[in-house]
Structure formats: C-alpha cells, structure tokens
C-alpha cells in the first residue's frame, strides 16, 4: 500500500506503511533531513512542519492521515519562512541549531494568524518548542523583527 504526499510543492508516492509518522517518511524516505527528531512524544517541537499551513508535530501525524500539503524548513519561496530565516540570521539565533527548524516553522504558524504578536503571545505560541541551548531571547527578538518585515512588505 502506498501513500501520496505533497511536500514543498513536490508530489511523492511513499512506500512506508500509513501509520508511519510523517517525520520518519520525511527524514528516512524522502531525505528531507532538515526536520529533526527530538522526543517522539510531542514534547519538544523539533519535528514541527506545516500541514495545510498549520504547524503540526510530525512525530505524531501518521503519514496516511496527512490532510494537505506539507511544508518543511527546506521549502523555498515562502515569504513568511524567508522573512523568519532572514531575521534568524540577522539576530544570529542558532547555537547548535538542532531545534531551529522546528522553532522557525512554529513561528511561521504564529505569524500567519497574528501579524503583530506581543511578547506574551510569542511566549505562549512557542512554549512547546524546547531549545537546550537556551536561545529563547533571540528567538523572541527575531520573531518581532520578522513580523515587522512582513508587515512592511505587505506579505503574509
């Protein structure tokens, strides 16, 4: 049995069984290793991707249940992701970097629904994303910055 999947605009037919979590299909079958494994129990956010524009923990979503297009950190041409990546670079956010794909995808989800989030709103939205290197303050600053860029650019 095979499953059809659209990832970053490309269509794939995958061979993994439908109950396989999307995370492992992305990493092991499609070679999209920018999405990371941290816990497998929805408690770290390292595996965050978008399904149909909404942030999900890909370690928890069986590939057979994926209900829309998947966006990962490797996506190109996504204005929101690009603005976040530029802000992340500007603020020199990443230390080890392992959590940052998930952080960026989670932040993109926040900005999609809230173009000008407050500190508290950012803290709440990002609470499920651990960073063992402790980069939280620069993540927060970078999200504000990206939000500003997107508002000015009229994108979003």
């Amino acid at each position: 049995m095979s499953v059809a999947l659209n990832v970053n605009g490309t269509r794939y037919i995958v061979g993994a069984s439908p109950e396989t979590p999307l995370l492992w299909v992305l990493r092991d079958e499609l070679g999209l290793t920018g999405t990371k494994f941290g816990c497998g129990v929805a408690s770290c956010g390292a595996c965050t991707v978008h399904v149909d524009g909404q942030a999900v923990r890909s370690c928890q979503v069986p590939v057979g249940d994926v209900w829309g297009g998947v966006t990962t950190i490797e996506a190109e041409g996504d204005a929101r992701l690009s603005a976040l990546q530029a802000a992340w670079t500007e603020h020199q956010v990443a230390q080890c970097g392992y959590c940052q794909s998930g952080q960026i995808l989670q932040a993109a989800d926040l900005l999609a629904g809230n173009p000008a989030p407050s500190d508290d709103e950012i803290d709440t939205a990002m609470g499920g994303n651990l960073c063992r290197c402790g980069t939280y303050s620069v993540i927060r600053a970078a999200i504000h910055d990206a939000a500003g860029r997107l508002r000015e650019g009229g994108a979003g």
Partner: protein, 743 residues
Amino acid sequence: MSRLGTITRRTLLVGAVAVAGGAAFGIYQLRKPVVNPLRPEDGATLNPYLIIDQQGITIIAPRAEMGQGVHTTLAALVAEELDADWEQLRVLHGPPAAAYYNAALAHGALPVPDYAMKDWQRSVTAGIGAATKLLGLQVTGGSTSTVDAFERMRLAGASAREALKAVAAERLGVEAGVLRTEAGRVIAPDGREIDYRDLAEAAASVSVPQAELRHPNDWKLLGRSLPRTDMRAKVTGQAQYSTDIVLPGMKFATVRICPYLGGGMAGFDASPALAVPGVEQVLDLGDGIAVVASNTWAAMQGAEAAVIDWTPSPLPATPDAMVAQIARAFEEKPNSTMRDQGRPDEQSAGIEVEYRVPFLAHSTMEPMGATAHLQDGHLTLWVGNQAPREHVKVAADAAGIEAENVTLHTPFLGGGFGRRVETDITRQAARIAALMPGVPIRLTWSREEDMRHDFYRPAAIARMRGAVEDGRATLLDAKIAAPSVTRAAIGRLTGRNLGGPDKGHVEGAFDQPYAIPHYRVAGHLADLDVPIGFWRAVGNSFNGFFHDCFIDELAHAAGADPLQFRLDHVAPESPVAAGVLEAVRDLSGWGAPVPDGTGRGVAMVWSFGTPTAVVIDLTRDGAGPIRIARAFMACDPGLVLDPAIVRAQMESGLIYGLSAAMSGEITFTDGRADQGNFPDYDALRMFNAPRVEVAIVQDNPHMGGVGEPGTPPAMAALANALFALTGMRVRSLPLSRHAEFLI
C-alpha cells in the same frame, strides 16, 4: 628554571605543503614535530589549519561545533592575520589528528586556584600542555578551544600571508615590504593586485616566513561580533548532524540496551520485533539488541516489541540507598584537601548544614546518533563527537579493523555539553556496520535510550561548617562527597587509572577567591559505579552551588547585604572577581528596594578561568507559581574575541543551569533511570525563561572560557533568590521539590 624555559619556550613552526592547485598551511609544535595529518594526495580536503586553492580559502577548525560558535571564532583567528574576505570563507572541522591536540586542557592540571596562579605556574602548565599532545587528546571541552587556538591559528594565518606576499613580490618585481593584503588579494603600491588563489600553488614551495602577530589595536575581525559561519545552514535545514547523512541503500537502526545500568542481557526473543512491518534484522550486541529496518520508526517499534531477558543491575536499588552510599565516603579519609588555611578544627561553627544535588542528564537536543558504512574493510563514520581520535580507536576496535582503516567525519553536534566525548554511540554504530558489511547504517537513539544511557552528572553531598564574627566570615569548612567524574571519564578516554588528588572533584569550591581565615575544602570520593561523565561545568556545577549558597548563608548570618558581603571577602583576594560583582551590582541596580513579591539573589563562581556573577529576580503573584523573571550576568573572560558569542554562551549556560536547578533530577530504581523523556526531565521554555542581560568585563589578564562558567552561578543564584523571596533556605536540588515554579 632553565630546563623549564626550554620546555615551555614556544617553538611553533609554520609549514606548507602543496595540494591540488594550491597550498596548505599548518603549525608544528615542540622540538619533535607531530606527524602532518595532511595527505597531499587527498587534494584540498585535509590540512592542519588553512587551505588556499582554486576554490578559495578553507579554514580547518579542528574543534566540534556544538553551538558554542567555535568554528566562527577559530576561523576569525586565521582570517584576521590572513586578510581573508570573511563572507567568502569555508570552514571545515577537519580530520582527527594528533596535530590538533588541545594544549589548553592542561591549564587546569595544577592544584592551584586559577585566580591565584602565578606566571611561572602558568608556564608549567604550558609544559603539561605538551603532555596532552602525547596523550593525543583532540578534545573539545573544558571551555578551552579558543584559549588553545589563540596563538597557533593566528600564526598560521600570518605566515601564510607572508608566504603569499613573497610569491607576489617576485612576480610583481617589488619588495615584499611594500605590498599590502586585503580581502584575499595582495596589492602593490601601483594598484596591481593578485588574488591569493593565483599565488597559493607557488606559495607551497617557498619557505614559510615566521611572521609577527598583529597588535590587537589593528584587528579588523577579532573583538567584533561576526556573522557566524554556520548560521545560514542552520536556519535553512541544510546543516548536517550525525543522522542527516543520506547514502544509497541505507538502512535505519536503533538499539535497546539493558536499562538496568551495569546489568546485561541473558537472552531475547526477536520474533515480535521481526513481526513489525519494515523490520529486517535484529542483531545481538551482547548487552542489548540493535534493530535494523526500512525506517527509523519501524526500528524503534521493533526494539520495543522484542522480548528481552535483562540481568539485574549491581547498583543500590533505591535513590535513598544511593545517597547513603555517597554519604559513606565521608567516613573515609579525604582524597584531597586542596584548600587548607588556618585551623578549622579549632573553630566552633555557628552554622552546620548539609547540601545535596541529584544526578543529571545532558539531554542534548539531538539524541545520540551516528551513520556508519563498512565497505571493503574500510569503515566510514559520521558522528558528532568531542574527541575524534578516541572515537576512531573505539570504532576500529568494534569493527575489528585497524585504526587507519577508519575515516571519521565530525558533522555538527546537536548539543554536546560533555556528552559527546563518550564513545558508546560510535562503538555501537561501528559494530552494527561490521555486522552488515556493505550496508550503510543510520543509527538513531530514542529519547528514552538517550536519557537512560547517559554518563550522568553525579549526585553529590556537601557538609558545610561556617562561622561569622563582626560581619565577616571566619570559618568555611567544606567536605564534598561524590563519585569521581575525573576518574570515570578520563579513565574511559585514555584507558589509564588516575590516582592522586582529584582537583575536578572539588573545583568550584576550593578555588574560589574569598579571604576567610579558617578555610578548608576536602574532597571525598564515593564508591558508586553509576556511569558518570563531564556535564557542562563538571565539578563546578555542584561545588559552585554548595560554596556560593553557603556564602549566602554566612552573609545572612552576618546580617550583611549578600552582594556587599561577597565583595568584602573577594576584593582582597582578586580584584578581577570583585570587578564582576561590581558589574552585576550596577547592571541589576542592586541595592534599590525590590517591589513586593520579588526576591533577588546573587551568586559568583570562578570557573574555567572566568569569574561570573549572576543576579536572579524571582516574582510571585500572591499564591501563584514563582516566575524566574530576570537574570543579570557579568563575566570577565579577559580579552574577548567575539562579544556576541560570549553573550550567547553566557545566556546559554545560565538557562542550562537554571533548568537543572529548578527541575532537573535523574533518580534510579533498581539501577534504571526513572526519567525517560522530556515530560519527566524538562527544561526551561520560552515562557518561563528569564529576560537576560549580560555585562562583559575585560580586566582579567588571562583568557578564560565562556561555554561553561554561566552554569554554576545560575544554580546558586536561583536558590539564593528563592531564599530572598520566601525565607526558605533550600539546600537540595531540584528546587521544584520545595517550591512551586511556573512550568
């Protein structure tokens, strides 16, 4: 002294060799040069510090990049002297090689507090530094990388620049002295210029001039916050970690090893694992199994399904029995008394208390993993590690081949904190690859496997006696009991049994810059065989907490302001340490009345050559949970090469320490860790992490580390702030067992 002089006199020589279309520059130290790890036949891929070829400039930064920014700072050392264009550089980790030994590791080897070290003592450690080369330790750890590279890598850049100028001078028919260099080009006074790439090949055959290093006032890159060389890759998902290597025909593996530490495996039934769709093989690893499948998830499902008959752990069965075993060490003679001033036994103690800290896991964001491929008797490994040469040896042993048949790549590390010095993952990956020759293997541990098979920060107990008189501390008498990390970890790393006084065991307590007349710190080594290892700040992580919290107790007993009390006792011993206390006082506005519902605590710990002071503000709304609202930090690592990286490391160390002090705890039942994943062993998250401000002072005449010194004072400052807020002196961690924090 004269013999000392010859040993410690630096004999750094720069040499060059030809590589395809260019030159590679490296350093040789000591009278007997180390074997050049560069293999010219490998073209532009291998080299000591710097390769210039037709592709451009590549700097080899032979330390693991685990988030601490070391690739950026090491590259800047070379680029500063070379006049390379920062945006155009490539940085590689480079191969395992004795030439990359970490000489600064030995700076901590003398039984003398860093703050009180005399110049002659520093020169003795330079001699011991040469000994670490003999051990061949290419270790990323101990907050030493920059200190170690500071001179060597600048020299490599300077000498290469002069060699390129020598070639250009000949081609342009001018004296080398009139040439200048900029952005990867040599420029003549008349404006003619030659790109380094076009000079490199010829530069390989000129004898490399020994160049003078530039004065810091002339630096263009060093001393500034540079764009990190790894940033773009890390925000686009392109940065590769151990399990991101994609090889054709790759299989996916995980392991399940006996969780009852020290126990083993009597037998197993693989059939339930093999029944999981996608599972292809179950391998016997002796103390557990490896499951190989068509994807990692199938392998993990299979590993869980296998029925395994474990044999029991020899460890004490309960957490309490473990603490009792550690406490037993107090009954034996101390292993060390590295501070012993006055007559502590003759003083009566006004305060006599016991402190305790638990075992801790590293819990790096990236669980342990590796990629391995054994093909035609040659093993290629990709594993994030902090000691590549040791990993090569272990891999060779596990695969049953010679070390020269192992190629080790060090990709990015998804956090290290000391965990990736350990070679267990490499042994497993090599073993699995050897059992499946020709098949590339990606081995990924589950989080549970990672948390239950750590080399933990040990639990420790301190028994403290102290007294104050007329506002001054007169007695501080500390006895510290814990299993020895130094012996466990260095023993595993080098295969040698270390005897003698164990400095690491008491660091953070015996070496603090306080003037106290009766002052003693004794270390007792506990006989408890839980696997323990280097954990961010190592001994300082518990001793800093014990020592500084006890200083806080003495301050309150003396009726003194805790910060001023510290300052009064520190200033006579170390103006540098006093400087960070003053800086944190000014930064935090210490002394102004704090609002109701706010508790403010301070701590200062000198570790890894860098005194670091922290002020923590806790707030609480009525009966609500306690919030770690703000943190102020001041550190003095001496000369700072990249202020943004220093600030980031300080904040990172702080959050790591606060996370552990607030809620971190590993306990063992029947020798198995009770905690397996983040829900049982969490860390600060964005909503409960403090707002942080960092002040950097640069009065320290010696360069110190920055990766670890933020962690110890964070823990103590948190407990001291809890006392300020609640009046409750909590002497055992984690604090969340005693007070309700926002989680």
